[in-house]
Point group: D3
Chain length 242, copies 6
């Protein structure tokens, strides 16, 4: 008999997802994204200076920074500034967010500018990086709309839609969108970044317990496509308002 997920969800059921746009006043894009109890504030800031290695190329850049507030988690974690440098996990996640978002941006249309996506986790319950990518996309679109409106750029630099979701194998059951309780106890954990043509932008799977087989991979990727399709729809719905 199959076990019930701690969250009581069906194996292929996402947590409730919401986007609160214009969450803060100053950023060009500012979105509070929630995947269940996971809440990430994603802001998009337009910077007139592109990074040094792009000067004179006519191309822009999109980069991301990721951080958790100290008490976003069950027990308080020390601020990274106190330790003097971002840890390995932080580096890995912000590099992933940056790559994912650059995959849908025409960097030439941006001009020599940089958009910085700050993803700050206010509350963590698993899936912070997938929520961050999914929310940062909405913040990025808001920022580019503002740039178009202000005639800062002439052409929409966003040429696709991107969302991310986690899948895994929990107690031998392939499941979609793991929360913290499930993630702590799963055998395989995979983060999948998909565009709206169901093309893979990034695939990162790790066997925590036993190595996973090709057939398990296939089931997980089917779940990931289902989740991403729902997230793409939710993003479009959020962006259609106001």
């Amino acid at each position: 008999m199959t076990q019930t997920r701690p969250s009581a969800r069906q194996p292929d059921q996402m947590r409730p997802v919401s986007f609160e746009r214009h969450y803060t006043r100053h950023a060009e894009g500012s979105v509070l994204v929630s995947f269940g109890h996971t809440r990430v504030l994603c802001t998009a800031s337009v910077d007139d200076r592109s990074p040094p290695w792009l000067r004179g190329t006519g191309e822009g850049w999109v980069t991301a920074e990721y951080s958790m507030l100290p008490r976003a988690t069950h027990t308080r974690s020390a601020r990274e500034v106190v330790k003097g440098a971002p840890g390995g996990r932080t580096h890995e996640i912000q590099r992933l967010i940056g790559r994912a978002l650059r995959a849908v941006v025409d960097r030439r249309a941006l001009g020599e500018r940089q958009i910085i996506l700050d993803c700050d986790v206010l509350q963590a319950d698993g899936g912070t990086r997938t929520a961050a990518i999914t929310g940062a996309y909405v913040a990025l679109v808001d920022a580019t709309r503002k740039m178009l409106k202000n005639k800062m750029i002439a052409k929409d630099p966003i040429h696709g839609q991107v969302a991310a979701v986690s899948v895994g194998i929990w107690k031998s059951i392939p499941v979609l969108d793991l929360d913290y309780a499930e993630d702590s106890d799963c055998e395989t954990d995979m983060n999948v970044v998909l565009n709206d043509g169901m093309g893979f932008i990034e695939l990162q799977g790790t066997a925590e317990g036993h190595a996973f087989r090709q057939d398990e991979l296939d089931v997980m990727l089917t779940l990931a496509r289902k989740g991403a399709t729902e997230l793409h729809a939710a993003q479009r719905e959020a962006l259609s308002r106001d």
Copy 2:
């Protein structure tokens, strides 16, 4: 003729103040405090280990950390972790918050524990340190109530109430609770931390333009007392709910 404040407030009028308790799930105390557009998330985390220099004394400690999200401000500021260490302003503010809150805590009643007050500015519009102190007080009370309820401590360690407010001289007018526009343009800026007996816990005044006189100081302190009285009432009201 007197000039009108950018915020159109009366010289002795505070911005709307609100406290959203239980803003996040994991912290023992978690309060989103707003002073107008300034919004600071204050969490209180109970740590079973007191700092090394208090081991064996039977006394506890209360400390604070303060940070701004990169895009809390009009233009994005680099994260301090990227620079490798907190800046001077951050150190100054978090030391101030810690001192202010310790002034109303019976550290012996805490036992050998530490309460860490994290004050993270989500949106800045002037007065972030006064909002942080005022909000951290509410988070601290929530945390100590939980400790009492859980029998972690036997006696309420909070023996007073504390709030902070800024006053200043703007275009020769003494004003209460400066927002960013007023603060950028004022001649004197003073942060006042007051307990509910109207005793001064901390007084920090800086002449930005001309040096201020004793009579100007007296008017500013009268305004500060008015503001603190309102803040103390708002704290009590917030803490009386649920």
Copy 3:
């Protein structure tokens, strides 16, 4: 007509692979692994102290550190110590190596010890992380053999075999084991860590150009299995000598 790879290899052809065991004298395991011109010195050091979080659990740990000599590359890169901290790429790679090797280790059989795998790239020509994982496995086996011989441990802690290989899509052709010239110019790049049961331990794919489709993924994973099979055979051959 299909294009020829810069290396003139067939799409499914690995570079020549070799393992030089006992390359240095002091380490418990010391292997110079070559994947073509890529040369990585992998040493395994046994440390009697396990990491703090494992004290008292009876379990050991396997961790990895990765670095490039400054002139391993075409142009010299600054040492990370000069910048003050390892960069994001270094963190990502050393975390990957550690996870990959831990997947084949019975940490209880190690006892409360740590094995540190240092992977230092002497010469880089693409695929340094896959060479590092593949070579570190051989160094790890040498170290555990020495521990068994010295009666430091009673039971062989290695319960599987692990190797890593890169696959990618270069000019629309799925190819195996990308060298630097191919990697710089490919559309998709995937690192696959496989055990000797052809189970996936880690899968990390990134679309550099267009997003990749499920059918492209399938072809790449078939190539990865072919490469890993050859690497596992080469590891066994190397370990059968002496």
Copy 4:
């Protein structure tokens, strides 16, 4: 009956104050200031480059750095360089010194130059920051006199006089100029920076024990004015020599 201060001074009595000008050879201004046993070497260095944010504005800058020699204190303190960064207290003090001195400088008359005030405590016995401000003023005047003499500047940029003094409440007695023994044991500690028109430039009061009342504040400020008047006279006397 009133208690006697550890220093056997009257409540309103300063320690002996002295200024040794031209204490070292190389700096444009170099003053060893003593407040009793507290001895601070204050040097003023003229730097032809103003800070980046002032380039092109025609204005100069005055900044301060503060440090204690490791054995300036009763027990040796580790050098801050060993810890990697200046601590919070150091930041706070050097920011205070800089603000205090800028309050009497016409930054336009300086031109695009920077004067750096280094305040290094050779021996500490309480009141190092007030001694530093008071001594740095003398070093600053010496440096600007040299600039005028060398025709580097045409107009005297010093438009006022500044000195700092501590006041506090020790065993319920308001006292002037606390030494280390008194400071360690006082209920309220306040640093006051005053110009020669008795205007407040900075006011920083902290209740260490009970919160202080308005009437206590008033007495302390009266003491501060007395002390500052004496310090201004001593500065003028020192600057009238040679």
Copy 5:
């Protein structure tokens, strides 16, 4: 009766010395130097930018960096990047290597370029700094030959030959070229850098046990000249090949 050295060598006998040129592919000069079991990879990298302080002078620079792989030694040492900064010993050695090599370089003939000598110890058995200097000379010559061949420079900038050797007093016997066992147990340790005219470029002697006398110094310097003569011959032989 005289004691036998741990290495069974005569007091005036060097360890076998060898130079493996072109050890790696990318560097302009790349030499693996061995002094017995001590093996150091020395690469010379040509950088088109000279250091800031030489811009506009027409002169170039030669600098060195030195590092040990973590397991070059009997027990593993932590990477310096993990500690955040190179240690004192590293600084001292790389400054020594740089000075020694600059002594035989016509910096004007280099033009405004920098040659960086990276000396990475793969295996340590005493004398790593003397091996590094001796090997770096060969790498430097290879790099300047390539620059001459490529017409990057018109005139050979190398105007002398340099080698380094250690001497010491072990169990009262003056000995040449100490290995690790001898170095750990010696009374005096001296590193001598000599040019091919037997002129001293650097002399660094330290009494570990008793202070050494003038007559002991004289014997040690005679040994050093013998060793350096052999090293100069070996360098010339290596550079005469290919």
Copy 6:
């Protein structure tokens, strides 16, 4: 005809040397040493904890830290704390001072304690490291006298006398005790640490211009012995007072 030294001294003439003992109040030993215009404050602090690697051995340690005040020099140098870490030169000098002083200390007689010698340069005019060693010796003796008097130790741990002096070749003339003007312009610079039996404790010679010959070395060492003899006498004289 021979040239006259910038200081107008004879080639074998030292600058005036003085020791001001008890220069500051708190340290167990505190000496302001002057070699002409070079002034270094040397304090000796007794620390009850020996370094970790000596715990349980019954032996103590002597270590040194060296720093320059920012404006000890002609132009201001940035504080090392601002750069985040001590530079290579600082490391080299403080390691040298520590080794020199340990050479005359019976570490067993110290017990498991550490004496920290802080050498802070108030004013620099060449020879700061030789002045530091020579002055630190006097501070160290003062500290051990206090330890003997307080019965902290039973036996005098100082078993010799140590002083340091620089020699060099300036305009082809061997000279003693170089000041800044001479040092900046010399061909060879050598620091010699000698005990009172004229044994060498440390010898560090660097050819800045041409390599130096054995006969030049011999003359320089004769000068060094003359200088050290005078310094030893001056130390004894200073220590005989009070």
